[in-house]
Amino acid sequence: MKGKKWPRPFVALLIAAMMVILAACSGGSGSDAGSNPPSGHTGGTDTDSQAPSEQKGEPLKLSIMVPAFSTELPDKSSPVWQRLEEYTHTDLEIIWTPNSSYSDKLNITLASGELPTIINVGKEPSVISAVRNGAFWEVGPYLKDYPNLSQANEIVLNNTSIDGKIYGVYRARTLGRMGVTYNMVWLENLGLEPAKTIDEFYDILWQFTYNDPDRNGKDDTYGMTVTKYTGPWDIMQVWFGAPNKWGEDENGKLIPDFMTPEYREALKFFRKIYEEGLVNEDFAVMDPAVWNDPFINGESGVFVDVADNARRLNNSMQDKEPRDKPYTGVFQAPVGPKGHRDLPTSGWSGMFVISKSKVKTEEELRRVLEFLDRLNDVEMKLLLGYGIEGRHYDLVDGYVVPRDLDASLKKEIEGFNQLLMFLGEPEPGYEETEINQMINEVWEANEAIVVGNPAEPLVSEVYGRVGQQLDNIIGDARIQYIVGQINDEEFDAAIDLWMRSGGEEYIQEINELYEAAKAH
């Protein structure tokens, strides 16, 4: 189709001469899927039977490309793989691609014209262009027909949409993942409670800095560690009422967050806590790789990030000096002047798109979707997430108790969790420790207070062109304002520069896209 053909015999002849000294072991790959006749679609899926018997005909041949975070990946001899194929009645080829080279591999796959049946993609420019040129099926209208897929979250679906249409089944992630982690020992020492309001939050930072929270008689602590990574500022400004990247002004027009007065309020607060030494003075240059260290070392006592980091911090502190109760506690964001608000994540990490070159007919598409739907059955979630009961884990009182696995058993389950979409009924999990329970509570409660980004699904051409430059203008001005290098007028000047550098166009385009999407 693409017509990128090389004069192959000629080239091969030349290369043959060159390869005398090379022991080349070229492995041919290029299995063609989708050639077998599609079997009749059976509406409801049976989630109870271990191996559904209702399916007939040959197993569906499928290839699926997902990222891999492990270097030891299973092959078809893994019983997990076999059970997966059995349950979904498929002949499955899983193409695990190291996460570090995933985007390169994805682009190459797109360029080579040989797409797998299912690919995990984000909304990167090359994917958007492929979508617009008809590389993948629009699956939006079909989702309602499948028991699990139909339970996809509307907000997240909207976030994954491209030009207002749904092209993939997203892999769900916790939407309200943020939380404020405190050093509980310090809070107890000072007789403080976790902050309910921003004033209380400030008070904790102040007391952690100046009231000797570790009771060692030395002035060697401060409130909160921040690094070059701007996440904590992004989270905290939402507490103050700033929108999540884009918000509506009084006329219902979208404006970027930094043009709102709430953003400036937050910025003033950041500057104040910086001036007073409540955050580390070198945050603007600090290496994010050592972000956790001051908290673990008992130099700082507040951490604004994903809630689950509380567990990581606690684990490290327990390693240092075991304690019966956890060192850390994690709580929801404090309530600000505009109410209780927090920053969400996008709620997804990649989506499965289905290639039109592999899946030719609607009939086949339905079978592939059924496969994806089945991966969301509780049995499959357990299988992909934890392995096989009695081999890799046990179920005790409804909780998953992992077994101590040796390398070869561990390898059997490695990488399958990348196939999980976490849609539908939740599966059993690990028994909750005190800290995990806190994390889960924060996550659940957050669902009610997270603030969406109305512009998230919009694909802006201007942003594609100059977006990163625009982001840098404001991002740098923000940090310079916090550390006191520039004042309000200079920050306003940075906004002006932003407008002149394409920002004005960008706002206009976003608003047009937004109107169009609303009308849709």
């Binding site: 693409k2 017509g3 990128k4 090389w6 080239v11 030349l14 290369i15 001469a17 060159m18 682009n107 190459i108 797109l110 360029a111 014209g113 990167e124 420019p125 090359s126 262009s129 492929a130 040129n133 590389a135 070059k228 580390n280 003075e281 070198d282 603007a284 240059v285 600090m286 290496d287 790789a289 050592v290 942003y463 594609g464 062109r465 977006g467 990163q468 430059q469 840098n472 991002g475 740098d476 923000r478 940090i479 310079q480 550390v483 290098q485 550098s501």
Partner: protein, 316 residues
């Protein structure tokens, strides 16, 4: 008339014959050349069509034949970019710093090593200074932070003890370029000496001995024997370096950039990366790459010309 034609014909065939004779004479040389030539054709020139995507809105899915042609649009965008001159300035200054401070470092180190007479000491030093080449930039940047931070970094503690003030090495734009060059010197000087040490190994020891007998001082020996022995290597490396003049290395700059020093830190390489995140790097970065290559080719041929004028060999 006829005769003239005849003569030219004759000359041509004569020429052909002499060429053929030359070819036959050098047959072995062509045989030796052949594998390399095939390599360059297949792996360098066959994929060379890739440069045309600089004139397209390339989409991997559509391929070169399906993507839209946009002419010089990316070049226009690049040159008309309000930041272009800042990027150019930052890139040029860093490149000049690199040339002035880093380029001579391995030469000086090699010459110093060459003056060492205790063999074992020389070997140990050689091995030690080449170690950092193997440490990734991520680690180097991390260690730089640990040593230099104003928040308890060893070096800043020392500075504080001496001067009573701390220096914001990592955030102060004035320190950005010196830091980059120092990192590179630390990391690559030892590695760079290897090639000069190899060149020095071809120096005839008897030459030194004869010079000593003639009463030449160490400086004279250095100036008249050692330096000439490596001068052609220096010239070649310099010319080749100029070919990559605008390459500042992406990773290092990227890691050392922050909101406080970006005004001096932004260079072409990091800019292309940032544009790539939002735009898909292909066409635009190819266009910027083409620009850098054209500059490089001009510098290579220009410096080669001057090298030859000055009586050196040059790269061709």
């Amino acid at each position: 008339m006829e005769t003239t034609i005849h003569t030219t014909d004759h000359m041509k065939s004569e020429q052909r014959r002499s060429r053929w004779a030359k070819f036959k004479k050098d047959l072995w040389l062509y045989i030796l050349l052949f594998p390399g030539l095939v390599y360059f054709i297949i792996f360098k020139y066959l994929p060379m069509w890739g440069v045309v995507i600089a004139f397209q809105d390339y989409s991997p899915f559509l391929g070169v034949f399906g993507s839209k042609w946009v002419g010089f649009e990316h070049f226009r965008n690049f040159f008309n970019n309000p930041d272009f001159f800042r990027l150019l300035r930052n890139t040029l200054i860093l490149a000049v710093y690199d040339l002035v401070f880093f380029f001579p470092a391995p030469i000086i180190a090699a010459l110093m090593l060459n003056e060492i007479r205790v063999g074992i000491f020389k070997r140990i030093v050689q091995t030690a200074i080449y170690v950092p080449h193997f440490i990734s930039m991520v680690i180097v940047a991390s260690m730089t932070y640990v040593f230099l931070t104003t928040n308890g970094g060893v070096i800043n503690e020392l500075v504080y003890m001496i001067t009573g003030q701390k220096i914001n090495f990592l955030g102060d734009p004035a320190w950005f370029r010196p830091l980059i060059i120092m990192q590179i010197m630390w990391k690559e000087t030892g590695w760079g000496t290897i090639i000069f040490l190899a060149a020095l190994s071809s120096v005839d020891v008897e030459q030194y001995e004869a010079a000593i007998v003639d009463g030449a001082t160490r400086w004279q020996r250095l100036w008249y024997i050692t330096l000439p022995a490596i001068s052609s290597t220096i010239v070649i490396l310099l010319i080749l370096r100029l070919g990559n003049f605008l390459d500042t290395g992406f990773e290092q700059i990227f890691l050392m950039t922050n909101s406080l020093n970006r005004s001096v830190a932004d260079v072409f390489d990091t800019y292309v990366y940032f544009v790539g995140i939002t735009q898909g790097a292909f066409s635009y970065s190819t266009a910027v790459g083409l620009f850098k290559s054209v500059v490089g080719i001009i510098l290579i041929y220009g410096s080669n010309y001057f090298a030859k004028k000055l009586g050196h060999e040059g790269i061709i």
